[in-house]
Amino acid sequence: STIVLVFEAPSNFHFTVTAGQKVKVGEALGDI
């Protein structure tokens, strides 16, 4: 199963993860 997130954000939004990284519920994905 997969979850796709699609969202609008200010252009200074940045992801704090890398492709292939394992994450758990509540871990940071991105910030402004």
Binding site: T2, L5, K22
Partner: protein, 417 residues
Amino acid sequence: LANAWKHTPTKWYPLPVAVGALLLIVIQYRKRLGEREVYVDEEGHEVVKLKGPWHVHVIGALPLRNLSRVWGYVNSLELPVWLRPVGFKLYGWAFGCNLDELEKDLKEYTSLGDFFYRKLKDGVRPVADVVLVSPADGKILHFGTIKGGRVEQIKGSTYSLEALLGREIPDSSRTQVAFPTREMAEVDDKEFAAINGIEYSLHELLGTNAKGSPTSSGTSTPKPESSEGKTTATKFGERTDASVSQEGSISEVVAHDTSVATQMGVRPTLERRGSSTINQVKPGNGLFFTVIYLAPGDYHRFHSPTAWVVEKRRHFVGDLFSVSPWMAKRLENLFVLNERVALLGRWKYGFFGMVPVGATNVGSIKINFDKELRTNVGSRRGHPLGTYTEAVYSGASSILDGQPLLKAQEMGGFCLG
């Protein structure tokens, strides 16, 4: 032949530069033509078709939905008590489950399906203090920005955002059926709403303070409940309407909204800054995406990635291909072909959407606040790709025009089969 191969002299001639340049132009032209090859319907909308190498077509010919349902049925069978700890430990060892995070004794999980949809102990998933957190345990497959309405599946392969989330349909093509909802709401000082027992910060969800002035970004702490200045309103069993399109494939549920907020005079002071459509991205903003893959051993409930309001859901009946990274690299439009539930709404920066996508082994998607949703039932026949059923959650909270969710609040999950 051997003699000719050995003794025939090779003569080299210089190739005119113009011929070489022409050849390069033709190659580039053919490449670009191939990249832009899309199927469109009579109205010019893209029609998604199965595309990929031969083994993808072989998999596509299998009755995946029936296999998924049989798999779900088998895994719902109750296991003998003596077998449960051994069986679940073996499954956990094979797929890397962390059994220390479980709250229950393994014997209390009656079936593999029950174990698969397990809950975790409280406090084992701390929540980061950032605007966006992971909604699930899994692996980040991909992330980035969305340009030209296309989402990148893998490098060089994209799919249409409109196909993923569905395009708007005119109201004229809908008819009505009944659908009950219930709501309990309290508003405290016009800044905090307690809806069905959970307290939400209105300015966190709407991006404003109660008087409508924009606020800066950042999280807010819920205010302790106070008896002063509190207004309470309750409504039960209110009717909402669902509608089905003339084609019989698209429907909408629309709440009859006798607004609690309007009765209290709250609504005029609240300014909605977000938007539930992707066509209204504000200047200075962009569209972003990320894809998280849940492996068979992962915890399979999902949580809210931020504080937001879900305004509607669109259920797309589709295929149930595996969504493993192996498949994602080979099957174009994988996330558009598969059965999925697009939850659309808004957060304080504008549009927000979350799309749980089913797969062969986990075809069923549950949404805690939507008991009407039924996934992986019936045949895909009669549900052309791109069509969906839609429910609007304005009945969930008339104050917020949708279902409010806190960051990391449990939303639902994936079940076997």
